[in-house]
Amino acid sequence: MKPEDLARSLPPVLAPVLLGVEAFPGFAARVRFRREGALDVFRAIHDLGFTHLAMIGGIDWVDHREVIYTVWSDEARTYLLLSTDVPADDPRVESAVPVWPSANWHEREAWELVGITFDHHPDLRHLLTPDGYAFHPLLRSFKIHEPEELEVKTRHV
């Protein structure tokens, strides 16, 4: 599946939210879109046969954050990368759970580690870090310390 074919097969109503369908190493294509129309893009991509959501990840680019979705199509036998940018001061995007139920845990993880809030997520709570953990470790501003540098041995329960 070539990026041009993909761009043609996406419904034209999505044109305002699509930022580009371009070739990308390792994937059939990368689909960049505005976060406002996220759910529509998800539905359209899902209807194209990309039924398996492999992963959701967040990348902190300091000035903004990027959410990447990797989806797989059993017909086309290829991966597709969806990517959207969210501003760092308001990192929220629509949840993909209604389209791909497997997004549940991936979004919980992206929420706690990268600090991206997924609207209308059914169950947004801590997955890997303890409950009440107040930091987002995968942000660039979160620095790694040698344990000696910690002043007080404290932890979250």
Partner: protein, 381 residues
Amino acid sequence: MSEMWLNMGPQHPMTHGLWNLRVHIDGEVIRDVDPEMGYLHRGIEKLSEDRHYNEVVTLMDRTCYVAGLAWEHLYILASEEALHIAPPERAQYLRVLCEEFQRIASHLMWYAAFVQDIGLMTPFLYGMRDRDLILDLFQSYTGARMTYEYMRVGGVRNDVPPGFTDRARQVLDWLEPRFVEYDQLTLGSDIFHKRCDNLGVLRANDCVTQGVTGPMLRSAGLKRDLRKDRPYAVYDQLDFEVALADTADVTGRYLVRLEEMRQSVRILRQVLDWLDRHPGPVMASQLPRWLGAPYAPVGREGYLLKRNYPKGVGFSAVEEPHGEALAYVVNEGGEHPYRVKFRSPVYANIAAARHYLVGYRVADIPPIMGSVDICVGEVDR
């Protein structure tokens, strides 16, 4: 007994790792489950941002400690793509050798743990015994039993020692009759079928919706194997079949894993023949100096800072013993990866627990979760 929540974990013989399965039971029937993860969250993705590309391999071994070499392969494929480096062909064959041996070792470890879950004591010992033979082979060329640090960006650390292929063939010759023995010990018993047939059923469409991959998916009859569908390394030059079953239950997963071991033996014989016939270098010659020579001690000093190295993004997908593992490596021109993101197959398989556990009994939890083949290290990372 009225309805109650039962915490199975973090210290529970069923878990095979460090996690907590909260089960809502009515008598002995499961009404709801809620897996609680994160007890082994070591922040590997964050630590990777603080390490050189080759140092991250150390973490990869510990990400999934029963399939370390498969995860090394996953990470190395992604970072080579991000760094625009191509490994020599012999290194690729050696990586396939590692991955397939690792697949057998991981499945044997799974077999040992799984049979113990249904109360069989003896095959645990047999599985561990045969797994040790493979670990001996690993030890002969990587120097370690479990944490290998063998693969490098641009190739592998060293070639296999002389006489290795013959020893490996001996191990394969020993293993093949053992698979028959394993089947006799489990499938030969009526109690095994009573326990495992029609248990933990997860049909193909549910697998796809829930993101379940690997032997669980193939046991539901869906033929998806990244080694065939999206061939990486040299899998397109090797001849093998995708193990399939159509029962979608615990027995199906058992059959798929046993068949995968047989197919791995088949792949390994081809790889060993190729290695005998094609000597050559195992590291790429045109490596950027800041990556270090393959034998250079790994340390924080002694590397030249890199300047103006092209940026890039690497993506790789590997059919790990547990399922499809994905890696996404962002190279922003520093000595360390800017961001490393992994997708663990077991992560999605556990997330779907509600769909294959509810409705069964408490006594069914160990065989079902055993058939998922849990490796908590790669879930929590």
